[in-house]
């Protein structure tokens, strides 16, 4: 695969196909405040729901007295676990094959767990009523870390399961233990690290919510819901609630950010739907900020150890890692069934060696469940962080420049497709070119010289690097599923008589710009201007089935489906063109937007003429119309990569570090809309900076969540976010129809290690080898003082 530094568009700006930075069509409504979010949906007679949540982390539920709440004017119902149990809905399945309480019946297992719901005529009344519900808890020892959870005398969290005798949520392994042991046995040097990737939260600005409208006469359930995967959610609703699937319509309207937080089904959705069904009126529930932060799917919380075996020359021989996941009270990751620790086994990263072994264990704790995401494509973030931190420390230990160490150990371009020691088949890559570009952009050699001089003066600066490899685009049906549903995706395209088209998708934007980029794919393939193509998504009644948008899968999978359906239409268009031009289909040439007769370019028809003919003058042996659908099963995952370099200055007196430069060279294959790609990278780099610098959700010893609002859970704004300098190389995916890879998560995956490596680099000469994220100034100061 040839790597280029950029990709020239094949279509004119008027057509606006792949490679044009079209302005986002969705922005007009967002910027004018005219979006339509779940909370904007107001239906006649609509009721409001509020949720009573457990104030304690672990307790027996002794009794609930809701009589005073029921007496408040405007309260229609107080729903408890007991009532849900009567309808067999007190528990629901998770996407990881566990079950999760909808409303607590036996115990509460984390602070913020759903205990009861009030349905009232307005939200204020519902909230006031919550305070009138009297719940008697008998407190149990809260388990706030997975180490305690696994001790023999730790109380059992999952007393709801008959055959369970410990707090282990899963165990898993990948790679080859014997080969790895052999590699370590012959190693000249072993470099190890032990680190915690702390719990974080995707915290989309729009919290989760639902308006459930079960029509009492027709039985049709119309559900407006903050959903990244409306089709999968409809199927799960059908299976859980026993509603006939054709009677469920899930509408995921404009979504104000998802980042994985809107993949799971939350208890509030189930109760609101049940309440609407029982009462016969629409019911709205929209989370408060605190509800979102304390109860919905978090990210990370992995305790990781890793070791690299090196030979005499510093070549990597093998990698061994062990993981302990803090799973919260229920195992509700969303990940492919086969892979209990997600795709963590991509941990061998950008480096070529033969042996790796990964062991993983999950532990239940008295914390909110999830681990689902935060823009990480199934735990790739943790994996990338671990290997890139190890690489830095290994280079330091053997006294080699980290860039040279990477260069020596990179998988080489000619090795692709490359089979990793844990079984991934990397599609394409050219790691050294991307790294060199980043080094040139930042002025690497000059910075190293400056650093040497600074150390002489006692000034602290550091240069950190990460050369990540991502795995996205789940995924091939033979390997990837969510709750049994294969991870294909779909596109349906109809070109109307005037040559304008509607594209319907199985994926669903939450801000990624699908309405712009997917139109550009059609524009590329059919030559219809992107502005003439309306993109519809998020409504299960009028879009084809798909698994939704998360894990950077939309372009690799849904984008593939879009290109393929457009090609189907182009094949048919060729036949109509042949009919119109009175030529045979094989004698026609295609260029974006028109067919012409080979050798006589003046004899041509435009795609618009063809569309008109499809409804007015179609060939007798063809069906009328110009439309089709494609379900795309990707042959492989795609493997975006890149190198990020961060330069920090550090104040030894306070431990405060500031980012002087941040250079990010990304290779995500062919870029459909370069501006949108840059936006995705900016967002991800900001999130990576947040995690390295300030962001975490922590708990006190009683299991109280510290980080339940934006004063305590820090989300950086434009003020403190460093300036980013972006570069690109283009190594197309050889198997994707338009050569694109996903990019939504690369920057979140790759950047945290670059920031932390920079801080460690500033302190390495003092003997500092690790500081866990977030790299807070007090941790830095203590590391200096303890060094």
């Amino acid at each position: 695969m040839q790597t280029q530094t950029h990709h020239k568009p094949c279509t004119s700006p008027e057509i606006g196909g792949v490679g044009h930075s079209l302005r986002r069509v969705e922005d007009a409504r967002f910027l004018q405040g005219a979006g339509n979010y779940v909370d904007d949906v107001n239906l006649p007679g609509m009721l409001h729901m509020a949720i009573l949540r457990s104030p304690v982390a672990h307790a027996k539920l002794v009794s609930i007295d809701s009589s005073a709440a029921m007496e408040l004017d405007g309260v229609l119902a107080v729903v408890t676990g007991e009532l849900m149990a009567q309808h067999n809905l007190a528990w629901m399945p998770t996407l990881s094959g566990d079950t999760q309480a909808v409303l607590a019946t036996d115990k509460v297992r984390y602070q913020g767990q759903e205990v009861a719901c009030v349905i009232a005529t307005d939200r204020y009344i519902a909230e006031d009523a919550l305070r009138l519900i009297d719940v008697d808890y008998e407190e149990l020892e809260p388990i706030t870390n997975p180490q305690r959870s696994l001790e023999a005398d730790a109380p059992l969290i999952r007393t709801d399961k008959e055959d369970v005798t410990d707090n282990v949520s899963f165990t898993w392994e990948a790679g080859d233990k014997d080969a790895t042991d052999a590699a370590f046995a012959k190693a000249a040097k072993v470099v190890s690290i032990e680190t915690h990737y702390p719990r974080s939260h995707p915290s989309p600005l729009e919290t989760c919510g639902i308006v459930a409208d079960v029509h009492p006469a027709t039985g049709k359930a119309t559900i407006y819901m903050t959903s990244q995967a409306p089709h999968a959610h409809r199927t799960l609703f059908a299976l859980v609630a026993g509603l006939p699937e054709q009677n469920i319509r899930i509408i995921s309207p404009d979504i104000g950010g998802g980042f994985g937080n809107k993949v799971p089904i939350y208890p509030g959705y189930v109760v609101a739907t049940a309440a609407s069904l029982l009462i016969g009126l629409p019911v709205k529930w929209v989370e408060s900020r605190t509800e979102n932060l304390i109860s919905t799917g978090f990210g990370r919380d992995y305790y990781m150890t890793g070791s690299l075996a090196l030979d005499d020359n510093g070549r990597i021989l093998g990698l061994r890692t062990d993981l302990l996941a803090d799973q919260g009270a229920f195992y509700s990751d969303a990940q492919p069934t086969k892979f209990r620790a997600g795709l963590f086994h991509i941990v061998t990263g950008s480096y070529d060696f033969d042996a790796a072994h990964v062991t993983a264990k999950g532990a239940f704790t008295n914390k909110a469940p999830g681990g689902v995401a935060y823009r990480c494509s199934f735990r790739v973030t943790e994996a990338s962080y671990l290997i890139e931190r190890l690489i830095q420390n290994a280079a330091n230990e053997i006294g080699m420049d980290p860039a040279e160490f990477r260069r020596m150990n990179f998988i080489q371009p000619e090795q692709f497709p490359y089979t990793s020691p844990t079984g991934f088949v990397y599609d394409s890559g050219d790691y050294e070119t991307a790294m060199q570009m980043a080094m040139d952009m930042v002025g690497y050699d000059e910075l190293r010289a400056e650093q040497a001089a600074a150390r002489e003066e006692g000034r602290l600066m550091g240069i950190g690097m990460a050369s990540f490899t991502e795995v996205v685009g789940a995924g091939p049906a033979h390997t990837y599923d969510i709750a049994g549903l294969k991870m294909f995706d779909s596109a349906e395209l109809r070109v109307h008589p005037t040559g304008k088209a509607i594209l319907k998708l199985g994926v669903k934007t939450q801000g990624q710009g699908h309405e712009t980029t997917f139109a550009q794919i059609v524009a590329e393939e059919l030559g219809i201007p992107a502005t003439d193509i309306a993109v519809m998504h998020g409504d299960t009644d009028n879009t084809p089935y798909g698994l939704g948008t998360y894990a950077s899968r939309s372009t690799p999978v849904g984008g593939g489906a879009t290109a393929m359906v457009a090609r189907k239409l182009r094949d048919k268009a060729r036949k109509i063109a042949a009919h119109l031009l009175e030529a045979s289909p094989e004698d026609l040439d295609w260029e974006p937007g028109k067919f012409s007769v080979k050798g006589s370019p003046d004899s041509s028809v435009s795609i618009q003429d063809i569309a008109f003919a499809a409804y007015t003058n179609h060939p007798e042996d063809e069906e009328a119309g110009l439309e089709g659908v494609h379900y795309y099963n990707p042959p492989n995952m795609t493997y975006p990569f890149g190198t990020y370099i961060v330069v920090v200055d550090l104040d030894p007196d306070t431990g405060v570090w500031t980012v002087r430069r941040m250079v990010a060279v990304d290779d995500c294959g062919v870029r459909i809309n370069p501006m949108i790609v840059d936006g995705q990278i900016h967002g991800g780099l900001t999130e990576g900076f947040a995690k390295a610098n300030m962001q975490w959700i922590t708990f006190d010893e009683d299991g109280n969540c510290i980080g339940s609002n934006f004063m305590d859970y820090l989300v950086p704004t434009a003020w403190e976010t460093p300036r980013f300098e972006l570069g690109e190389t283009v190594t197309p995916s050889p198997h994707h129809p338009i050569g694109a890879k996903g990019v939504g998560e690369s920057a979140t995956v790759g950047s945290p290690a670059a920031f932390v490596n920079a801080v460690i680099d500033a302190l390495a000469h003092l003997g500092v080898t690790n500081i866990d994220m977030p790299v807070l100034p007090d941790r830095v100061w203590k590391a200096i003082h303890n060094a």
């Binding site: 939200r123 408060s288 900020r289 704004t717 403190e720 203590k782």
Partner: protein
């Protein structure tokens, strides 16, 4: 995020507000910028029965210099101080203003509301301690001026009597060469201080320190005057060694907690670092 029910009124005049407060007694609560009170109501940390909104009392929105003081009215917003030329008369006041939260909060929140609130993580009361401010207090039966040390009683507690409110705060502007600074360590823009240190140095004609003021933020149950450090500085010629000793004394006056913002030992160290740097900056600006 949904406050309990409350009554509300918004008088147009100071007299109207004072009459309302007198009538409501303990039930009444002043609403100024709402940047502390409204969040507390939403979190159910405060549940006032009756709010007296003073935002329509435009006579209170002044910032002015008079009789050797800089006076800030009860409706002057943090951002009014950022933009005020008069406020530049006090280095410690003008250098603190841009550190208050973010532009959104600065546009709404008031200096006097912050002074009244007595949140030990609030920045203004440290500034007022360093500058030896007086709080102007009025009730329906009359007015009084209260020194800032007496105004701050404890954690979220001031010395206002029932029915009284703050109408303004006045910072004396010394006649001699004076400089000040505010240093703040925050996790991100808009965050409260992890550690904040306000300093002011008034120099005598011979260059010695006539009076020093040092106020500490977020390292105690209330904003704290580092009096031992101040005493150490008064009457002495400024020097790096002296500032280092004063910094150590200021650190001893702090009693920080270990929390999500950081470790107590480290915070105490930051108090020392900021006191040292702050005094140096104050000295530099007094000389210029």
């Amino acid at each position: 995020m949904y406050p309990p029910a409350f009554e509300y009124q918004a008088p147009d005049t100071l007299e109207g507000a004072l009459a309302a407060l007198a009538e409501l007694g303990d039930e009444g609560r002043v609403l100024a910028g709402g940047q502390s009170l409204i969040p507390m109501m939403k979190f159910h940390l405060a549940a006032p029965a009756h709010l007296v909104d003073i935002n329509r009392i435009s006579e209170l929105s002044y910032i002015r210099r008079s009789n050797g003081s800089l006076c800030i009215g009860a409706l002057a917003r943090h951002n009014d101080v950022v933009r005020s030329d008069d406020a530049k008369a006090s280095d410690v006041v003008s250098s603190a203003a841009p550190w208050i939260s973010d532009p959104l909060v600065r546009n709404r929140g008031t200096v006097c509301g912050s002074v009244a609130h007595c949140d030990p993580e609030g920045d203004w009361n440290s500034v007022m301690l360093a500058a030896r401010a007086e709080v102007m207090v009025q009730g329906s039966s009359g007015s009084r001026r209260v020194g800032i040390d007496d105004f701050i009683v404890s954690y979220f507690t001031n010395s206002l009597e029932t029915g009284e409110m703050v109408t303004g705060v006045c910072v004396p502007i010394p006649s001699g060469a004076t400089g000040g600074s505010y240093m703040k360590l925050e996790r991100k823009i808009g965050d409260y201080a992890t550690v904040g240190v306000a300093t002011q140095l008034e120099l005598a004609d011979d260059g010695s320190i006539a009076q020093a003021g040092i106020g500490l933020t977020a390292v105690n149950y209330q904003n704290t005057r580092a009096s031992a450090a101040e005493d150490m500085l008064a009457g002495e010629m400024p020097s790096d060694e002296l500032f280092a000793e004063a910094a150590a004394a200021a650190a001893s006056a702090s009693d920080p907690q270990t929390d999500v913002r950081g470790d107590a030992d480290w915070k105490r160290n930051v108090v020392a670092v900021f006191t040292r740097r702050g005094l140096a900056q104050a000295l530099a600006s007094a000389g210029s």
